[in-house]
């Protein structure tokens, strides 16, 4: 049991490429920390640095009060679950789990106790004599977890462990991982690119982009108060609607309120307005201080419990999205409950209350509270 602290950790490759640009992070004992971000954001590199599989070029990594920068992976008291499981193909399930313990010179009876216990927890009992090849994807995943559990390490590290499973199994295993972690109360760091996995698993969520931390916090807090437009469009599906505002629009929308002074919101020339699809309502009346969008329905997605309406804002030219995951300017997604939706081509009015609006600086790097 231990906490993990990263202090200004950075990684620069000999080629000069900065993979990690100074990250500070504190994971308390027993917490489940999820690193999430798009491909290439450095989340896996960061995890591998904690594991000791990548060298650190700046800063400190502290596991349980010990700086481990120059310590071998085997000595760091961590266990890692890999994306492709990395099971030893020629060893039985039992030996896969026992291998690490044998290498540490643990007495046989204790190895046996630990492996049997892990097999019981993960329901692998009948499969102990089989080879990995004879197991299904979910079972292999559990063996990989078992290999981590038997070690009773200070920290579990997960590198996208569920991405090779099919959708249904992924959800089941997600729940299992969470239950297991609660039960063992082992500090865990988990890397994923799936924001839903990140939201459901995390005690603390770290959103990364381009080798930097965009926001750290508890998942709901991040959902409710994204710090940048990147976080706003990455967390939540479908992504938050982002619309550039001119300064006069900002004034008319946000300056009437007594809570915000002119200087704060309208100080910059322009800003970006964000509204989550689920915060809209289709209505004809205008809520006080809220926003009203007149849309032409362009496409409809029915998923049963809810329906997504893709609408084009009237009087706004259509364009191409600047970043993947963001909406093209002028297009707005509205989520409504149920399956009753307007017809394509119909004109609707979507309104959102004032307290559901998010405002960001024009470069998207700063959240503006109003």
């Amino acid at each position: 049991m231990a906490s993990v602290t990263l202090r200004n950790v950075s990684k620069t490759y000999p080629s000069g490429f900065e993979a990690i640009k100074g990250i500070g992070l504190e994971v308390a004992d027993g917490q489940f920390c999820v690193l999430v971000g798009p491909s290439g954001c450095g989340k896996s590199t960061l995890l591998r640095m904690v594991a000791g599989l990548e060298t650190i070029t700046g800063g400190d990594i502290d596991i349980g009060g010990r700086i481990v920068n120059a310590i071998e992976p085997a000595e760091r008291d961590i266990a890692m679950v890999f994306q492709n499981y990395a099971l030893y193909p020629h060893m039985s399930v039992y030996n896969n789990m026992a291998y690490g313990l044998r290498n540490r010179g643990m007495p046989k009876p204790e190895i046996d106790t630990r492996v049997q216990e892990a097999a019981r927890i993960l329901e692998l009992g009948p499969m102990l004599d089989r080879k990995p090849q004879q197991l299904s994807g979910g079972q292999r995943q559990r063996v990989a977890m078992g290999r981590a559990i038997v070690r009773q390490p200070k920290v579990f590290l997960f590198d996208e462990p569920l991405s090779n499973l099919d959708a249904k199994l992924r959800i089941a295993m997600r729940v299992e991982i969470r239950k297991l972690q609660r039960r063992l109360m082992t500090t865990s760091i988990y890397v994923t690119h799936d924001q839903l996995e990140a939201m459901t698993l995390a005690d603390i969520l770290v959103v990364m982009n381009g080798g930097q931390v965009e926001q750290i916090g508890n998942p709901l807090e991040i959902y409710q108060k994204p710090a940048t437009t990147f976080v706003a469009s990455f967390i939540g599906a479908p992504p938050m609607n982002l619309m550039p505002l001119r300064s006069d629009e900002i004034k008319s929308q946000f300056s009437g309120d007594s809570r915000a002074g002119d200087g704060r919101a309208a100080g910059s020339d322009a800003g970006i307005l964000g509204i989550r699809p689920e915060d809209f309502q289709i209505s004809s009346d205008t809520p006080a201080g809220g926003i009203v969008l007149d849309l032409t329905v362009e496409a409809i997605e029915r998923v049963g419990a809810e329906t997504f309406i893709y609408g084009a804002r009237q009087h706004v030219a259509q364009g191409v999205a600047a970043n993947p995951g963001e909406l093209p300017p002028g297009e707005v997604i509205v989520r409504i409950p149920g399956a009753i939706a307007p017809a394509i081509g119909e004109r609707i009015r979507a309104v959102a209350p004032r307290e559901k609006l998010h405002l960001f600086s024009a470069d998207g790097r700063k959240r503006i509270d109003f």
Binding site: M80, Q83, P89, H90, G100, N103, Q133, R147
Partner: protein, 282 residues
Amino acid sequence: MVEHRRFGNLLPHLVLLAGVAIVAFPVYLAIIASTHDNAVIANGQMPLIPGSHAIETYWNTIVSGTGRTTRAPVGGMMLNSLIMALGIAAGKIAISIISAYAIVFFSFPFRMTAFWTIFITLMLPVEVRIYPTYKITSDLHMLDSYAGLILPLIASATATLLFRQFFMTVPKELVEASKIDGAGPIRFFWDTLLPLSVTNIAALFVILFIYGWNQYLWPLLITTRDDMQTIVIGIKKIIDVHDALTEWQVAMATAVLAMLPPVAVVVLMQRLFVKGLIETEK
């Protein structure tokens, strides 16, 4: 429709049978010749059915040698050939798996230089470097010894390349998992890499054993004593006699005997090969 298909099967089978006959007939002839008296063969009318001297001929060939020549018994030659072939195969596999391990899994200065140096030796088989190799072997007093037969032939660029290609397909995560499981480089080699390489080793062993068994030029150069002769050289000597009639039945028996171990290796290892393919999962 059925007629057509039967014809379609018949033609390829005829072609294949003709091929088998062409390949197998000389072998059959050698076996038949080894069962007849030398006089029968020498008169130029080679029979196509087995004769009655099989046991006598093989006994003479393997155990007693022949009185009329100074020929040593082939049994000893077979042992020499076996030691040489096993030594070359085992040595080549051991050396090349270790060098491939170094090249693929470790980073050290001049790693690629080392790799290309090994690669270039592909162009330098023993026939090309025969004089310096002979000189060194002779200076080290290894003429007429098993070490002299085996050591100069052990370095193998081909096997190193094959192992390198295989090692590069081993997932990086397996190495990392071993690191986290506390296995050092030697443990990883013994516990993970070697078991995974079994099929490759088996396949290479077949090829290299036959390569070693069939060596002709090198043993011819460095062995002078009769008791160090290999069987391949033995055949040549039996045919090439002066002042006497070539003992064709003995020559044929020797040829048949020379053929058996490679055949046995192929047959036996093929089983292991298939077994390995079924059991080893990658």
